[in-house]
Symmetry: C2
Subunit: 243 residues, 2 copies
DNA sequence: CGATAGATTGATACTGCTCAATATGGGTGG
DNA sequence: CCACCCATATTGAGCAGTATCAATCTATCG
């Protein structure tokens, strides 16, 4: 076992531990899971809609997103993922994927066979609860996204997306919400907010003009966290204090 | 125990049975759950955002929806519910509600204390799996709704909402998708699709003009199911064949 | 140094919103 | 049984927020 493997265990157990309380037996059961660590280039698909998947992944480093498309090819990103996130838990119980998972940056991740994880969930109620809770948080975040694209204007929508990302990043202990680089392009932001890239560009420009964000070549930083929260109408309750 | 109570057991067990395979022990554990049957008038709240809830409900008759609002009071419905649906499973693991649940029509429902349901889930893996699967389907539907409000135009959005409702109704064995009354007002449809009531009215009028739906005083019926599916770009995969 | 993805900007079009008025119809008190 | 009332649906006119289309600019990378 190399240090990469240790990282992998570490990430999964820390994640599940944040979700519920695991005992020594639970940890052992997780540590005994077979897994593979892999890396992916930016833009690589980890899962495709309609495809049959038999394993599920945990992101170790880098960023990813899930997305769906309409029949005429318009793309909607439904979530962004940060290190520690479990990417396709639904494959444990569904045979066919209903959305795509794609990396945003270079990424490394662990693959665990569904069968094995399912077995651990069936025998260790704490683990089952942690995974279930993760699913419930996912669902809560999706509800907020429906509200975001359905009832907020472009400015609040973009601001909200940035706040959520900052907040989740903070909870996952990946840094402060005050100042950091965003990994995604304006096209990603557009597809996540239901806007066009052109309009996202203009919206970001206007947020920057108001001093809420700062931009330097490609990346964006949140400069005024308080003001952003207000502009977004951001209330992190729906994140249920989890990454 | 009166016939109402029998209905309550019936509904819960049938629902969970559709989600996974329950054995006799599982059924007994569910049948032993304490519960209360209640009725609600149209428009009554069963759960409120930020409120602490200690029980969870299953809808027996009537229709309900879940919704959230922005800080400036704009409402977004995030799901519609039909008889048999479990309404607030997330309260099993979250203390604070992140959205509202409100009836659309008169309704009757069962209330089960979270504690007891949680205990059954912890001891009966099949039950836990059924509930978890229900949560995963919920999440999948939310993803589709994000796509719906984010990337479809008004016409496809409304059509998609109607198709989903018809389809779920059919899976729950509540009738055919070809022809039935919708219980919700145009305002509900507007809040579910991220449109205004005025625009929903016009969109429905245009769908009716094209012969896809028929309207008689308040209600709407789907007249041309095939054409609706096409207009909506509706593919029921995301429902994972569940009600 | 060219290639390429991503960002930026301008001009114009259009979808869906807002405001405002009117119609309809089911339910209720007298 | 009627008249009224309220929620809901419908319609019209004008406008606003975003989309679209089309260049151009800017970094980064091999």
């Amino acid at each position: 076992m190399n240090s990469n493997d240790d990282d992998a265990f570490e990430a999964m157990i820390r994640k599940l531990d944040r979700l519920t309380t695991l005992d020594e037996e639970d940890r052992k059961a997780i540590a005994a899971l077979p897994f593979i660590v892999r890396t992916a280039a930016a833009g690589e698909y980890l899962m495709r809609e309609r495809q049959r998947e038999t394993s599920c992944c945990v992101l170790l480093s880098g960023y990813a997103c899930r997305h769906k498309t309409t029949v005429d090819g318009r793309r909607q990103i439904v979530s962004f993922h940060i290190p520690g996130d479990i990417l396709d838990l639904q494959q444990l119980l569904f045979a066919i994927a209903d959305h795509n998972v794609q990396t945003i940056t270079e990424a490394s991740y662990v693959i665990v066979p569904c069968e094995d994880l399912k077995r651990v969930a069936a025998t260790r109620p704490n683990v089952a609860e942690a995974l279930w809770r993760d699913t419930l948080i996912d669902a809560s975040v999706f509800r907020e996204w429906v509200l975001n694209v359905g009832r907020r204007d472009a400015r609040a929508r973009v601001a909200h997306m940035l706040c959520e990302f900052a907040s989740r990043r903070e909870h996952a202990e990946l840094g402060t919400p005050e100042r950091f680089e965003l990994p995604m392009t304006q096209e990603h932001i557009a597809d996540a907010t239901g806007l066009t890239t052109v309009h996202v560009n203009r919206t970001l420009a206007s947020l920057a003009a108001e001093g809420m964000i700062e931009r330097r070549g490609g990346g964006v930083e949140i400069a005024d966290w308080q003001e952003m929260r207000r502009a977004a109408g951001f209330d992190p309750t729906y994140l249920h204090a989890a990454a």
